[in-house]
Amino acid sequence: MRGKSVAMAVGLMWCVLAGPAIADNTTGGSQGSTDFSAASARIVNGSSEVLAGSGNLVVSSVEIAGDSVVVVLRSASDAAQVTLNLSSEVVGGASLAVGTLIQTVADSTGYLLTAGSAAIAYVPNEVGRSLLYHARHKERD
């Protein structure tokens, strides 16, 4: 009886683990795409050279403007500044505040800005911009 109960418990545990897994592991991967175009940052003042020139930047001001957050970043190595318009949805989870250290990583498509472990923005260069686009398909007549 004891052995049977153990088997039942194991069976139930298996059901718990296996049941929900079907949706993610059968034909998954077609769910709503991240609208990363909207999450991209836009430089409103200054130059992208500030992002390219230093791996570390510091937040010197944060201002919420509707759905956007205007952030001024100052180079940790000199006085150069760049002002970015970011998506508040993306920044919201990153707890951006004055003094927050922002790391920049340059790659072939632009600059990835991270605060701690959270990506707060991607500032695409020309190549990056050509890779990002998101729109609901418009029906043709």
Binding site: A18, P20, I22, G28, Q31, S33, T34, G93, A118, A119
Partner: protein, 261 residues
């Protein structure tokens, strides 16, 4: 032992709720995911640039399907804009946490930014003749006419009740190859069956089916035939089955895989 049983039962009752509404995340993507996704898009674009293709089929590894003998989870059409030369993807996406879908035009970058299981893409380059037919179809009303918003991940290949993303691609291919306008989904499916299309089969246990029925809006079983419900083996339109079908009907098709390695 009684405590173990009670604990297991409580988990059985409560765990599925932890999954409800969490079919996908709306949180900002992790830095590494973003970096890798864009790197793969860049590499894919460069690989496409070395071809003379104007339209390809493109697939991604959105989930680990190895237990079902499958690698790729989702596919769409990628086409090169005639004016600016940019590659754009047209595909069907299931709205996050919902039971419906829409058609989207996206860049290559967006296609790989959905936190895939593996950073790998598969590209199927049809013959120039088939590319021409498919471009013509994509520019017509057919993408919308052959779209059913009611979504099921495991939609039965020969029912028009639901549709998954790969099924939409397959049915548009049918309209393109058959060169038929105004084709219904039922017509397309009949044509596919008559033309030798072979769906993939996935195994779903009764308990998995129960869990999905109760807690997953985007997994439906009521379009499948009784034999499949009884056997637990369900026919679906997979990326692999679409690629195999196109390769058979269009032997000049070329294929390559792109990884970040």
């Amino acid at each position: 032992m009684r405590r173990i049983l009670v604990g297991a039962l409580l988990l059985l009752l409560l765990t599925p709720f932890a999954y409800a509404g969490q079919t996908c995340s709306t949180r900002a993507p992790a830095p590494e995911s973003v970096r890798k996704g864009l790197a793969l898009a860049f590499k894919t674009r460069n690989a496409l640039g070395k071809t003379d293709a104007r339209l390809v089929l493109i697939g991604r590894v959105g989930a680990d399907l190895s237990a079902q003998g499958l690698r790729y989870s989702h596919m769409g059409f990628a086409w090169r804009g005639t004016l600016d030369g940019r590659w754009q993807i047209m595909h069907l996406l299931n709205h996050c946490g919902r039971a419906d879908s829409d058609l989207f035009d996206e860049g290559l970058g967006n296609f790989f930014l959905d936190d895939p299981f593996a950073y790998e893409s598969i590209v199927e380059v049809p013959s120039p003749g088939l590319q021409e037919k498919l471009l013509h179809v994509l520019a017509s009303p057919e993408p919308d006419l052959l779209h059913t918003a009611s979504y099921s991940m495991i939609a039965y290949p020969y029912s028009a009740r639901y549709q998954n993303s790969n099924q939409w691609v397959l049915e548009l291919i049918a309209a393109g190859i058959a060169n038929a306008r105004g084709m219904s989904r039922t017509d397309a499916q009949r044509w596919l069956r008559d033309s030798g299309y072979v769906p993939s089969r996935v195994r779903i246990s009764p308990m998995q089916r129960l869990g999905a029925t109760l807690f997953r809006a985007n997994v439906r079983f009521d379009d499948h035939i009784p034999e499949e419900l009884a056997s637990g083996r369900y026919q679906i339109v997979s990326v692999e089955s679409v690629i195999d079908f196109v390769s058979r009907l269009d032997p000049a098709t070329r294929r390559f895989v792109i990884t970040l390695d």
